[in-house]
Amino acid sequence: MSGEVAMQFSSVGFRYQIPNPKWYNPFQKRQGPGISHIDLTVLKGKIVGLVGTNGAGKTTLLRIISGVLPLSEGEISKDGEILSKEALRSMVGFMPEQVRWSGQQTVRNTITEFALLRGCSIQSAVDILSVVGLKNRADTSLQSLSQGMRQRLSLGVALLGAPDVLVLDEPFNGLDPVAMDAFKRLLRSLAASGIGIVISSHHLTELGHLVDTLALLHQGQLLAQGTTETLQSKLGFEDITELILDRTMSDDLLTMLDVLESEEIENGHRYILQSSDPKLLQLLVEEKHQIFTWRVVPPTLIELLCSATGLDRTSIGMDVEHSNMIPLRNLGGEEE
């Protein structure tokens, strides 16, 4: 990974305190789920995508990055200097998942209020409304805003004070495809201006097209971080090839190949193969096959996640009860 580091996370961890009432102390608490030993690098001008199942710890990590939750282990640094909570908050702009802005207050008043909280000029706050496309809605009351406009306002607030790192939790929720496209273009232009962006989303397709690197989170731990290509290689993915031929392949050829899927289609046969070996093309030509489609299919984010976690496609999405707990391992404290 090359580029200027905007922020570095080393062995970062946090565990929630959950109620554990006892007869002698009804308010007793114990350590609950959380995240542990996260090493993450955010580069300037790059977009990091956080991917994980429900309860994997994405929001917890984002809250730590934005200084809402305290660190119980590890450190966050920039240029080798450990950042205090206040320094962290002034460097990071945070857009939480679905802020329900409401009330009679106008958009202009709201962003001005947050400019005061942030310590930046009121004029710069009003200018940000143009960046997020709310300039014409500046005098609209919050309760009249649509969901997409609320998301834009949240992004505007996160952009106040020119943060080095932008942290976005599920920013595509509630956006229509047009708004989503505009949002993605805006994020790309922000990244191009040098802001490091950390983004968590369940819209895996959208995320896949947007991010430069991916961080796979599962059960509170970071399984891997890198570009899609790096992760494919780390996780042992070989290229998958989609092939549409005029007829079925001979048995000799089929025994040589690792066929994942095979189906008869109109005017031909479709194969999904775990290989993109160029020799295959030569063999198909020798057998006088007509090749309609030859396409190398990269693994989807779901496949990467399944491969990294060892879970299958069905259970990875539904096994919330299991996945929202840190796995049993020695974390230097009591275990659940």
């Binding site: 809250r63 934005s66 809402v68 939750l69 908050r89 945070f94 802020v99 802005w101 005061l116």
Partner: protein, 276 residues
């Protein structure tokens, strides 16, 4: 802009929003009825009070009318502040606020000052109106010092209840619990405290309810230091002659300082540890 100036500006904006809110519009008639309304009633030259008490000057009339502040003013403070944090927590705005670089203690002061201002302004206006009404009706005018003490004491009790409301709001995860906690506290100090005092007095062998019994008055006076309403009345009594409830003026002032500092400190600590 200096952080302290930003803090004051934010508090002003919050106070202004709350002052012109629908909730305040609903509470204003109640405040009008209880504060100037009571002053008007107690200023009646032919008033009949228990034990044939007759207010001898405007300060005593205002002291009697202060019950309006204890009932309506404190209730309004609690109702204004009870969702100061919980509403933002529910909508997700709290999370955005907590990520801002302004120190948490400053953010907590913004909340306290803003909510306090929104209730203090109408109450000050109504106390002033009450004083004018008392002077107009009984031809007895309150001295400037007494007027100042009355206003300062009223501001203090409103501050205490505002902080109670905000504390409840910071603890509660939703609106229902916040209002139950705040109103519960108001109910305890405003209504149940009398029961608590008489119960404890009875257990200690004091002649309960006998307002002429000095030992009961002293017992009640001392126990009142544990209640914000009691301390408020002790502060007002510093300007009334002939009141002997076993509490010196200095102790009343000290109790007021403790009731101001302790909840503010607790609230500031609470905001420091606040998570969305």
């Amino acid at each position: 802009m200096k952080p302290s100036r930003r803090m004051m500006l934010l508090a002003y904006r919050l106070g202004r929003n709350r002052l012109f809110s629908t909730r305040m519009l609903i509470m204003l008639p109640i405040l009008l009825l209880f504060i100037p309304g009571m002053a008007w009633g107690f200023a009646d030259p032919n008033i009949q009070l228990p034990d044939n008490q007759i207010p001898e000057n405007a300060t005593e009339t205002m002291f009697l009318a202060s019950i309006g502040i204890v009932f309506a003013g404190t209730m309004a403070a609690v109702l204004i502040a009870h969702d100061g944090i919980s509403k933002d927590r529910l909508s997700g705005v709290l999370e955005v606020r907590l990520t801002q670089p302004m120190e948490r203690w400053r953010q907590s002061m913004v909340l306290v000052l803003g909510h306090w201002m929104s209730i203090a302004i109408p109450v000050i206006l109504m106390i002033t109106l009450s004083m004018i009404l008392v002077g107009y009706r009984s031809d007895m005018w309150i001295s400037l010092t007494d007027a100042l003490v009355f206003n300062v004491a009223a501001m203090l009790i409103l501050l205490w209840y505002t902080v109670f409301g905000l504390l409840a709001s910071s603890v509660a995860k939703e609106q229902g619990s916040a209002i139950a906690f705040s109103i519960g506290l108001w109910f305890l100090f405003t209504l149940l405290w009398v029961l608590f005092t008489t119960l404890l007095a009875a257990l200690n062998g004091v002649a309960v309810g006998d307002t002429q019994d000095q030992s009961y008055l002293v017992f009640e006076g001392r126990l009142d230091l544990l209640s914000p309403n009691g301390v408020y009345h002790h502060l007002l009594e510093t300007r009334i002659d002939g009141v002997e409830r076993g509490v010196t003026n200095l102790i009343s002032y000290l109790a007021a300082v403790v009731w101001t500092v302790a909840p503010l400190y607790l609230f500031q600590k609470r905001v420091n540890r606040l998570v969305p």
